[in-house]
């Protein structure tokens, strides 16, 4: 099934019958993989399929248990600890590895500074950095500090760094996970440019549309097994998804149950002004799923954080079940039945070093008292309930949460929030970086909660998700609401027009749209 349409350039990097086991647990079974110069090869599979392990082996960070890696047709033992860079194999990790306080030029040359004797040739490095950035067509000042850059710009710096190292093989782990739509488009252009230069590009992604757009060949892994390596032209998003999960994904999104026309308004926000939010008004009905779309930084998260008391409200009104409220902190909003689930599950959502139980009950610890003491049994029961309800899969309950897959972490975070039994649930990026099977589960859970009469706000940068789930969609732009879409208006192009500022206007003007 290997891609026949490829130019016959010799293979740069290949894995031959590579297997890997950690201790006694096998994670990869006899995988064959190869890549040619100027080719983009996507690796896809669910969380836990073995993608990350495969790229670690290809970049030397892990040794295969059996089988070997070939570089230019010769078996090699890649040096560990990232030294494969010197052989032209560069990895860009999902969590970008940049020192926040260094400048752009410092970062690009980190570890291979240009020197005269013991002294740095600062000006030369600056000029060289500027030149590299120009070839990428990005406008970033080589003297800017990394911590002043956007995530997208930081990623560009990683790419610039790779280019400055004469990368022959560039390996990227979910490069677009943290990028907005516009940034993703710029990123695609970079990939095309690198490809034209003859760089071999391997990338992992959960986004099937971008796999279709970028990749020449796709390798599908499932449960550590190689399912297929196929030329992209022979694939459809559906067939890829099927190969990933090994069964048909008929309905990724559950059917929508519109809330009653005369359902109560449970939350009304009027002229809200807060950090990152400039005059936002909307209403949420009982049983409704309200989508929030927009570019990254458009103020969606800022609205949510202002509502639940994580950031100060400067002016405006929040009416909860008919009464004006202003929650001073999260404990107040949770007590009132308004819960917010952060998009940053590792940084703000979960204690990665703690076990499942401690994480689950952290928000609602007061429910597990026996006198002044904690009731361990009650906490354990809560965990058992949540595990069943949200299908959280862990080897055993005492593992650290950091060792769970992204999908299971996300389910645990949802469970933690639902422990508080909220009526209004704000979910920020419900499925970032998780596999399609778990996504489907989460969508069904969200829809079921709405059907029960909970009101839900879904903030998402994946437009398909907003479109598939929400009854109405609020599109934000630069801290304001650019438009609110309903019914047949909810389309990707319509959302994009509002998000990008091509179309403007509140609810009144919108009718003509």
């Amino acid at each position: 099934m290997a891609g026949q349409g490829e130019p016959a350039a010799p293979v740069v990097l290949a894995a031959k019958r590579v297997s890997k086991a950690f201790g006694e647990v096998p994670v990869l079974f006899s995988i064959d993989f190869d890549i040619r110069p100027g080719e983009v090869h996507a690796i896809i599979g669910e969380n836990g399929a073995g993608k990350s392990t495969l790229i670690k082996i290809l970049s030397g960070l892990e040794r295969p248990t059996s089988g070997h890696v070939e570089l230019d047709g010769q078996p090699v033992e890649l040096p560990p600890d990232g030294q494969a860079v010197n052989l032209g194999i560069v990895v860009i990790h999902q969590e970008l590895n940049l020192a926040e306080h260094l400048t752009v030029a410092d970062s690009i040359f980190l570890g291979r500074e240009l020197k005269s004797g013991p002294f740095l040739r600062l000006r030369e490095m600056r000029e060289e950095a500027r030149r590299i950035l120009e070839t990428l067509h990005v406008r970033i000042d080589p003297e800017a500090r990394i911590n002043t850059l956007s995530v997208a710009d930081k990623q560009m710096i990683e790419i610039a760094k790779a280019i400055s190292r004469d990368a022959r093989v560039l390996i990227m782990d979910e490069p677009t996970a943290v990028l907005s739509v516009a940034e993703t488009e710029t990123f695609f252009e970079q990939v095309d440019r690198l490809k034209a230069k003859g760089v071999a590009i391997i990338f992992i992604s959960h986004k099937l549309d971008e796999v279709m757009r970028l990749a020449d060949r796709v390798t599908v892994l499932r449960d550590g097994q190689l399912i297929a390596t196929v030329g992209t032209e022979a694939l459809t998003p559906d067939s890829i998804a099927q190969m990933m999960v090994g069964r048909e994904l008929s309905n990724l999104y559950p059917p929508k149950h519109e809330p009653d026309v005369d359902a109560d308004t449970v939350l009304a926000v009027r002229n809200l002004v807060a950090p990152g939010v400039r005059d936002v008004s909307f209403a949420l009905k009982r049983g409704e799923i309200l989508g929030f779309a927009g570019l990254i930084g458009s103020g969606r998260t800022a609205v949510a954080e202002a509502i639940v008391g994580l950031s100060p409200v400067e002016s405006g009104e929040i009416v909860h079940k008919g009464a004006p409220v202003r929650f001073a902190d999260v404990s107040k909003s949770v007590a009132a039945g308004v819960a917010y689930m952060t998009k940053d599950r590792k940084g703000k959502g979960l204690l990665l070093n703690a076990n499942l139980k401690d994480n689950l009950t952290l928000l609602t610890l007061k429910r597990h008292f026996k006198g002044p003491f904690l009731d361990d049994k009650s906490e354990t029961r809560a965990l058992e309930r949540a595990v069943r309800r949200f299908d959280i899969r862990a080897r055993d309950p005492s593992v650290r949460v950091g060792q769970l897959s992204g999908g299971n972490q996300q389910k645990l975070m949802l469970g933690k929030m639902m422990e508080a039994e909220p009526d209004i649930i704000i979910i920020d990026e419900p499925t970032r970086g998780i596999d399609v099977g778990t996504k489907q589960q989460l969508y069904h859970i969200i829809a079921a909660l709405a059907a029960e009469g909970k009101s839900i706000i879904v903030i998402s940068s994946e437009m398909q998700e907003v479109i598939g789930l929400a009854h109405r969609v609020v599109v934000m732009r630069e801290g304001r609401i650019a438009g609110i879409l309903e019914g047949a208006e909810i389309t990707e192009s319509e959302i994009m027009r509002y998000a990008a500022g091509i179309k403007q206007g509140g609810e009144n003007e919108r009718i003509s749209a």
């Binding site: 950690f22 201790g23 006694e24 647990v25 096998p26 994670v27 669910e46 969380n47 836990g48 399929a49 073995g50 990350s52 392990t53 670690k56 892990e62 449960d223 550590g224 999960v245 994580l310 902190d329 999260v330 404990s331 949770v334 917010y340 952060t342 940053d344 940084g347 703000k348 959502g349 979960l350 204690l351 990665l352 070093n353 703690a354 401690d358 952290l362 928000l363 610890l365 007061k366 008292f369 002044p372 003491f373 904690l374 299908d391 899969r393 862990a394 080897r395 593992v399 950091g402 060792q403 769970l404 897959s405 999908g407 299971n408 933690k416 596999d435 099977g437 778990t438 589960q441």
Partner: protein, 340 residues
Amino acid sequence: MSVSAPEAAASPSRGFRLDLKTAGPLLALILLVVLGYALNPLFLAEGNITNILTRSAFIGIIAVGATFVITAGGIDLSVGSMAAFIAGVMIIVMDWAVESMGVSIWTVLMGIGCSLILGIGAGFVNGFLTTKAKIEAFIVTLGTMGIYRSLVTYFADGGTLSLASEAREIYRPVYYDSFLRIPYPVWVFIAVAIIGWVLMNRTAFGRYCMAIGSNEHVARYSAIKVDRVKTWTYILQGLCVSLATIIYVPRLGSASAATGVLWELEAIAAVIIGGTVLKGGFGRVGGTVIGALILTAIGNILNLTEIISNYLNGAVQGVIIVAAVYLQRGSLGRRKKAAE
């Protein structure tokens, strides 16, 4: 659906390491006791054991408080100076009481009350400055450390503050007398340790300390009143210092600029040897108690034997601290590798 293969990958080694981490300090203490006995059988004489326990009480009690501060991601460098300051003020107040009202049990109770108020107050100041004024704990407590140390020097006019001998007579039993053959300071240590353990492991407060030390953002997003909990850890620390000072003063009946010097480092060392993570997020009160015992036992063994000069006490303690942390770090590093 998601397969747990890579998650399971971390499993084979985990249980074993965790055990080592929990039992490590205890094993080290047992080893030390065996060594001590081998070098000099007097080490296990009843008198000597009581001596070790009593001496470890000061650092131990302070270290239990430090366990909370460190677990919640803070640090308190001021405890040694705070102890000296409290001791100084206690003595001044009691001497004043003896002079103006004559001596009675109330003299001592007054001193104790004064100590508790000062300890709680000083802890609150540290907590308030770190949480509300948003100054790093290291800097705040470095500042208060200097302030308290210089105040006690000033009060003593560069010399020594001595407790009036009448009051000393009444106060003396608090350090020197026993109940069930166990000296009072040891009873206080036991009580503080038990209460501390329960607080850390069986109450929401302890869980919140670990959550905050582990990740303050997560704590805030989980409806925890981060500033309040952190302030409480410093207040607890102050209270522990106050208790330690109350049993320390009757020992010598005096305070000077040299009182409590380097106690903060010994307390932190006891906490770290016990397995609490210096960066916060994981606290073990039981380990801290063992850490305090280990530190005292080292000094005691050096006193009882001729092999290593007693002047090298600090050096031996230093080696033990670094070794303890290295062992903990080492096992963490391996676990991380296995998880990937």
